[in-house]
């Protein structure tokens, strides 16, 4: 029972929401505009830094979030101006490199005074104001099979806020997808020179997409660090790869794809690991190996999911036919 609760708990865990947000942002980049952003974690990290550092210095929540968004937007601009001309695979590498640079600089000893260096920023330094804002009473609550703390760290309050954000972003996305703006972005995804020849400023649209997706990424970063601490290494390449996996698992260029993908990935991961823990006694193989085996199974399951449903869970098989 606790296992089931744990597994299903991942469905709406803050982490799931954070990844869903990041994937929604990536969906605007890749799914809509065809920008191969391999550095979504960079946006997330900057968002998280923007939020946590201002919180640490006593800013109020609203301005912290605003600052996080601002930081991501500025980063998107700086990144976009010189690189949006690049071909997709090259752009992928540049964004990947840029995100790594953000992380490496953020964790470098020379930045310790600002970013906390490799130690990052401890939760007590930046989460309290958010937790204090909660209208919920202190203590824990149980809803159906799930019991979480109301306000602290991995809490109901964070879950509510996170999923409201996800819903909001998904709504925006939905509006954009079905609007002429979205159509231009999709056009750019297919052939930017054709769009150019039709009088649309490709750079402007790409930049808009990069910024909007980056803002979602920044929000994701904030949500990601709220239940834990801000550690630059925890927002590295792995996060970007997971985000990509989520996006393509759910189905690129769909509204619900990123959300569903995130839920599926984390539920799958937890399900595998939890069941491994209980089903394999550690006398057979060591607990190290059990956990490693769990990851192996998750890796293989991911492969199989994509192999047997390459267009993603919600994706359109037809689109796949015209080389995706």
């Amino acid at each position: 029972m606790t296992i089931v609760a744990n597994i299903l708990g991942e469905l709406f865990a803050p982490t799931t929401a954070a990844y869903a947000l990041a994937a929604i942002g990536l969906n605007i980049h890749f799914g809509m505009t065809g920008l191969m952003n391999m550095g979504q974690a960079g946006f997330m990290l900057l968002g998280a830094y923007g939020f946590a550092i201002t919180q640490m210095h006593g800013a109020n929540l609203f301005s912290s979030v605003l600052f996080a968004l601002l930081l991501a937007a500025v980063y998107a601009l700086l990144l976009g101006i010189p690189t949006l001309k690049l071909g997709p695979d090259y752009l992928a590498m540049v964004t990947l490199a840029a995100a790594e640079i953000v992380r490496i600089v953020g964790r470098s000893t020379s930045m310790t005074n600002i970013t906390g260096g490799s130690a990052g920023i401890a939760p007590q330094d930046f989460t309290t104001r958010f937790e204090d804002l909660s209208p919920l009473p202190d203590g824990t609550s149980t809803f159906l099979i799930w019991t979480y703390n109301n306000n602290i760290a991995n809490s109901w309050w964070l879950r509510i806020v996170a999923w409201v954000l996800v819903a909001l972003c998904a709504f925006l996305c939905w509006r954009w997808f079905r609007s002429p703006w979205g159509r231009v972005l999709k056009g750019i995804r297919e052939d930017e020179n054709a769009i150019r020849s039709l009088g649309k400023s490709v750079t402007k649209y790409k930049m808009q997409a990069l910024i909007v997706g980056g803002l979602f990424g920044a929000l994701a970063g904030v949500v990601f660090v709220l239940p834990r601490s801000l550690n630059p290494d925890s927002l590295g390449r792995t996060v970007t790869f997971y985000t990509w996996t989520i996006l393509l698992l759910g189905g690129a260029a769909t509204i619900m794809g990123p959300i569903l993908g995130s839920c599926v990935l984390w539920v799958l991961l937890t399900a595998v690991k939890e069941t491994m823990r209980v089903t394999i006694p550690s006398t057979v193989i060591s607990s190290n190996q059990i956990e490693a085996l769990g990851w192996i199974i998750v890796g293989v399951a991911l492969m199989l999911l994509v192999i047997f449903r390459p267009q993603g869970i919600l994706g359109n098989k037809k689109e796949l036919a015209f080389n995706g």
């Binding site: 509006r175 954009w176 609007s179 054709a194 020849s197 009088g199 649309k200 036919a321 995706g324």
Partner: protein, 339 residues
């Protein structure tokens, strides 16, 4: 040459001819029958005013490369583009007459497409300047060129594969407020315009025999259909000057013929047409003016008839077999000697 603007009249005649297909004739599979070799009902040209004017004006223009024309819309000066050691384009002076239908012909690799690229900002010349409608067009981005009213199509078609044909068309429409990031969130602000665009697009698709495919992905179009879509999409913009790069290569002859009338009718809406084409009949049929390029230079210019009879053009471009039946033995015999 005056006959050129008789095309509308011809069209009207054709209309009568093909009006009532005999009952015994097998109906064609495709709705091409509706278009076949005639314009659709009610789409006869009403006016030939611009056409007449252009014919009049050009009649007095000397037939030599780089002449000045009475009312040029595009003027290019000293445009040179080199690739490595090779000079792809080297145009001293070139003008395009407003409202005229100008054909740009020349052997393969003459630099026609490169010239298009240069004019529309997709490529940057080594030297040269050009003005469109009086505006300096150097260092202008392609999208600004297009917004300025100079729209081109691509020889190697560029369709947005994973967008429907209709969406491809709608992308061609200018001034859609919904294409702004914030305005797009409020459908009220763009619905009306969208509906207008859609009507226009559907009309064009109908004309280009693509209406049945409108909800299919453009990536599923056949080679010729892509060409058609490319051209139709360019026409969505209501351009001042439309530059068509081999728009009819790969298009079914019957449809091609019917589309020529459409091109002619464009002029009466105030559009100037510059097109590259290797189909001599088409050039003869609709062009008011023909410019010949070879090895990057403009080597001849003039009324279609004059130019086509120019022995240099015949030699370098049309070739010795232009009027020969290729089924005949003579062609092969000559060849065997040669090789």
């Amino acid at each position: 040459m005056a006959e050129n603007n008789k095309a509308p009249v011809d069209a009207a005649q054709r209309h009568d001819v093909g009006a009532a297909p005999a009952a015994s004739v097998r109906e064609p599979f495709y709705d091409i029958a509706r278009w076949g070799t005639k314009p659709p009902e009610g789409e006869d040209l009403i006016s030939t005013a611009y056409g007449d004017k252009v014919t009049r004006d050009l009649a007095f223009v000397e037939n030599k490369p780089g002449v000045h024309k009475p009312d040029p819309i595009l003027v290019a000066d000293g445009v040179v583009r080199r690739f490595g050691g090779m000079t792809a384009v080297d145009v001293d002076h070139f003008e395009i007459e407003r409202h005229g239908i100008t054909a740009l012909i020349g052997p393969n690799g003459a630099g026609k497409t490169t010239f298009f690229n240069l004019m529309t900002g997709f490529d940057v010349p080594n030297t040269g300047s050009w003005h469109f409608d009086g505006k300096d067009m150097q260092h202008v981005h392609p999208e600004q060129v297009a917004r300025g009213g100079m729209v081109r199509t691509f020889q190697l078609t560029k369709v947005m594969s994973r967008l429907t044909v209709l969406d491809n068309m709608l992308l061609g429409a200018p001034d859609q407020p919904g294409e702004g990031m914030f305005r797009s969130l409020f459908p009220g602000m763009w619905r009306r315009k969208e509906r207008e665009n859609r009507e226009k697009a559907e009309a064009l698709l109908e004309r280009f025999l693509l209406i049945k495919k409108k909800d299919d992905f453009a990536g599923s179009l056949s080679g010729g259909q892509r060409k058609l879509l490319e051209m139709a999409r360019a026409l969505m913009c209501d351009p001042k000057l439309v530059m068509l790069d081999e728009p009819m290569a790969g298009v079914n002859p019957a449809l091609k013929q019917s589309l020529l009338d459409h091109i002619i009718s464009l002029r009466e809406d105030g559009t100037t047409v510059l097109f590259v084409e290797h189909d001599i009949n088409m050039v003869r049929h609709i062009a008011d003016w023909v410019t010949v390029m070879a090895e990057g230079r403009i080597v001849a210019e003039g009324q279609p008839k004059t130019v086509m009879d120019d022995p240099a053009v015949v030699d370098a471009y049309l070739g010795a077999h232009a009027d020969v039946d290729l089924g005949g033995d003579s062609v092969l015999e000559g060849l065997e000697e040669r090789s």
